[in-house]
């Protein structure tokens, strides 16, 4: 029997790993010395960063989805059978169908989910754009919005760390373009004592927000929302009124992680360099699922996936280790409807954002299309 590689999750991380392994081991796949199986939860692959544009009517929904089968290398076995139990002691995963999948190497890339119901009133009182249904509803709310107080509320932990700043700036410009300049007020809340976890981004955001008249409330960790009174209250004791509440919900890992005893809140304790699950030598973890204290972002999953591809390939082919993950993260930052910047950093290099330009904005728009090449393992 050949080496069985099982990948849990058909999002960006799992898809890149599967395609990367298939491209590097064509001979082994042909001979049957290696098999690659992906267990996905849905046959559709969603380009999640595209959801940012949906509330503003700037993304066609069909552009955001592809059939996972068309993205995956045809030599990869795709099963739409989400895992319900992961037994790392016996190298076995059980799917929702009841079928079991044995493995020699496991890659956990099951991602995160919204924990909107973890804060009283948040689900009922707030809009969000982190899934398609939420983004559609926010689009409808913005279309009928004629003015008032908007609170853009950020909770921890959440994925795509720059999305709140992007949403705030794009929202401000969108409403100004609609001729509502004097009729709305945005208040941006953030859990810690500055406007963004990345200090250079926070420093850049201060004058940018001031210039646009965007109010801020730092040290704001949401305790509750009162949908009837239209107020949001923090653990720190501050209460803000709103006419439209947009939240970045807190996130947690998927249920199967907790149900399998692999990590509190669904985050799997993971070595930050080897990306191996703590306590396992044949289980890798990438993307949002890890407990590593770095950004939960698509680029993180991408760079981690590259590391796992190289290491798994060499482990199978030569029985040796290739390289450790260096903590690299790269993020585009939309700074309005026509400008953007970017930031990158790793475990040894702090971030240094550059001034926004229209060119970077165009590149971000181009990447929105090129994403599918990344998922295919070509970029």
């Amino acid at each position: 029997m050949g080496t069985r590689i099982l990948i849990l999750g058909s999002g960006l991380g799992g898809t890149i790993v599967a395609n990367g392994l298939a491209r590097r081991m064509p001979g082994e796949l042909r001979s049957g010395d290696v098999t690659i199986t992906v267990l996905g939860a849905t046959p559709k692959h969603l380009y999640q960063p595209g959801l940012l544009y949906v509330p503003f009517g700037r993304a066609r929904e069909q552009e955001l989805f592809r059939d996972e089968r068309t993205i995956l290398d045809r030599r990869i076995n795709l099963q739409i059978d989400p895992a319900v139990h992961i037994d790392v002691a016996n190298n076995r995963v059980t799917g929702k169908s009841g079928r079991t999948y044995d493995y020699d190497y496991l890659v956990i890339a099951t991602g995160s989910r919204l924990a909107t119901d973890s804060i009283p009133g948040l689900k009922e009182g707030a809009h969000q754009f982190y899934d398609l249904d939420g983004a559609r509803k926010l689009r409808d709310a913005l279309q009928s919005f004629e003015g008032g107080k908007i609170v853009l509320n950020v909770n921890a932990p959440h994925k795509c760390p720059v999305a709140p700043v992007e949403m705030t700036l794009m929202l401000d410009e969108h409403l100004r373009n609609r001729g509502l300049a004097d009729k709305f007020e945005i208040t941006y809340t953030y859990p810690i004592g500055r406007l963004h976890s990345l200090e250079p981004v926070a420093q850049w955001a201060v004058p940018e927000f001031e210039r646009r008249g965007i109010k801020t409330q730092i040290f704001f960790n949401t305790a509750s929302v009162d949908p009837e009174k239209r107020t949001i209250t923090s653990e720190e004791g501050d209460t803000l009124p709103y006419d439209l509440l947009i939240t970045i919900p807190p996130h947690r890992g998927v249920q199967v992680i907790e149900d399998s005893g692999l990590g509190k809140m669904g985050w799997v304790p993971t070595n930050p360099k080897t990306l191996k699950r703590e306590g396992s030598d044949n289980v890798f973890v990438i993307g949002d699922t890890t407990s590593i204290p770095i950004s939960k972002a698509g680029s993180t999953a991408h760079f981690e996936a590259d590391t796992v591809i190289e290491n798994l390939t060499l482990l199978v082919q030569e029985g040796r280790w290739s390289r450790d993950y260096d903590g690299k993260v790269f993020c585009f930052i939309e700074t309005g409807m026509n400008s953007g910047t970017y930031v990158w950093f790793n475990y040894s290099t702090p971030p240094k954002p550059t001034p926004p330009t229209q060119m970077v904005h165009w590149f971000k728009l181009a990447y929105n299309r090129m994403y599918w090449l990344s998922a295919c393992g070509l970029l």
Partner: protein, 76 residues
């Protein structure tokens, strides 16, 4: 019986030590302690200030050669 977990957030820039602390406290029980290791000098001021404001307890804050070790107890 209370538990203590340690988050090694040294040389991580995003989401950073304090965001990690907040997330960890959310998943903790009252009485649990979270230790954060941070190489960000701002943490030594920001975390105690926030801890006091929100009503948790600062157990200790120690400066080491290249990082701070800050322990917070969840009180509510």
């Amino acid at each position: 019986m209370s538990n203590r977990q340690t988050i090694d957030a040294r040389n991580t820039f995003c989401p950073g030590p304090m965001m990690e602390l907040i997330a960890a406290l959310k998943q903790s029980e009252i009485g649990d302690e979270v230790e954060v290791l941070s190489s960000d000098k701002g943490s030594a001021n920001d975390i105690p200030a926030w801890t006091k404001k929100v009503g948790h307890q600062l157990v200790s804050s120690e400066e080491h050669a290249d990082h701070w070790a800050i322990v917070v107890k969840k009180m509510k």
